[in-house]
Symmetry: C2
Subunit: 129 residues, 2 copies
DNA sequence: TACTGTCAACGAAAATCTTCGTAGTCAATC
DNA sequence: GATTGACTACGAAGATTTTCGTTGACAGTA
C-alpha cells in the first residue's frame, strides 16, 4: 500500500507541485521553464528541490530515461485538504465553519460560485438526513 | 496609522498568538504556562519567540512594568483572513470557491453550522443584488 | 576521437526557524 | 547589604528551507 504520512509541502515545494499538477509528469527542465515565467530561479535550485521532494515522498521519479521524469505523489485535492486541515488546527481552533465564513467574507465569489457552494450545502444536508 | 504588511506568522508564532487571542495581553510567563499544558517547551524559548515577534511587529510590548506585557498586534480575524488569502494563492489558484468546497467536503460540519453558512450565503447574495 | 551541450549529483552557503543555556537586572526578604 | 527568586537580554547551536556553483556522466556531432 502507499505510505500516507507525507509532510506538509513548503512554499517552494508547493510551487513545484502546482506545475506538476498542471502539466502532469515532467522533467526538471520543464518545471524550471514554467517557474521562470513568474520568478527568477536557477535550474539547479529546482533540481535540488525536486530531489528533496523525492526523498520526502512528495513526488515519485522515473529514472528509466536519462531525463528523469517527476510526478506528484499526492493528488492536488488531497494536498489541498491536507493544507486546509492543517490550517484549521493551527489557526481556527478546529472550527471548519469559522474557516468557511472567513473565506467567504474576505474573498468575493461570483454569483455562480455562490450558487455552486449552495448546491454543495444541499448535498451535505441531504447526506445528514 | 498602523503599519500593515505584517509577515505571515510561523507555526510556533501562531501557537503564541492563539494564547494571546484567548487570554488577551499577557506576560511571557503566562503564555509559557498555557503552552506547557499541551507541549514541552522551555521558558526562554517562549521568551525569545515573543521578542522576535515584537521585532516583526506581530505583537506589541508594554515595558512599563518589569514584567513586560505582550499583546497581539493583529486581531485573530485579520490573521485568519491573511492565512486563508495566502493559502488561496499558494494552493488553490486563487479560487475561493474551490477552497470552500474542499473545506466543506473534508470536515463534517453540524446541521446548525451548515445553516449558519447558508445564512452567510444569503447575506452575500443580497449584497450582490 | 575530441568537442559541445544537457543532465543529475553533490556539497555548501545563506536565510530562516526553533530551541535553550548563561548572564545580568531588579525587587523583596533575611 | 547579602541572598534568593523571577525576569529579560544575549548569544549561539541545531534544524529546516532555499539557493546555486561545481563536477562528472552521457549523447550527439564535428
Amino acid at each position: 500500500m502507499a505510505s500516507k504520512n507525507l509532510p506538509r509541502p513548503t512554499d517552494a515545494e508547493l510551487e513545484i507541485l502546482n506545475v506538476l499538477w498542471q502539466r502532469g509528469p515532467s522533467t526538471v527542465r520543464e518545471v524550471y521553464e514554467v517557474l521562470l515565467e513568474s520568478k527568477e530561479i536557477g535550474y539547479t535550485t529546482v533540481l535540488k528541490l525536486m530531489q528533496i521532494m523525492s526523498e520526502k515522498g512528495l513526488v515519485s521519479r522515473d529514472e528509466s530515461d536519462r531525463r528523469h521524469v517527476y510526478e506528484a505523489e499526492r493528488a492536488q485535492d488531497e494536498t489541498q485538504r491536507q493544507l486546509l486541515s492543517d490550517l484549521l488546527d493551527r489557526a481556527f481552533n478546529g472550527s471548519p465553519t469559522k474557516l468557511v465564513m472567513q473565506a467567504l467574507s474576505s474573498k468575493k465569489a461570483s454569483r455562480e460560485e455562490l450558487a455552486e457552494i449552495r448546491r454543495m450545502l444541499d448535498e451535505l444536508e441531504k447526506g445528514k438526513k
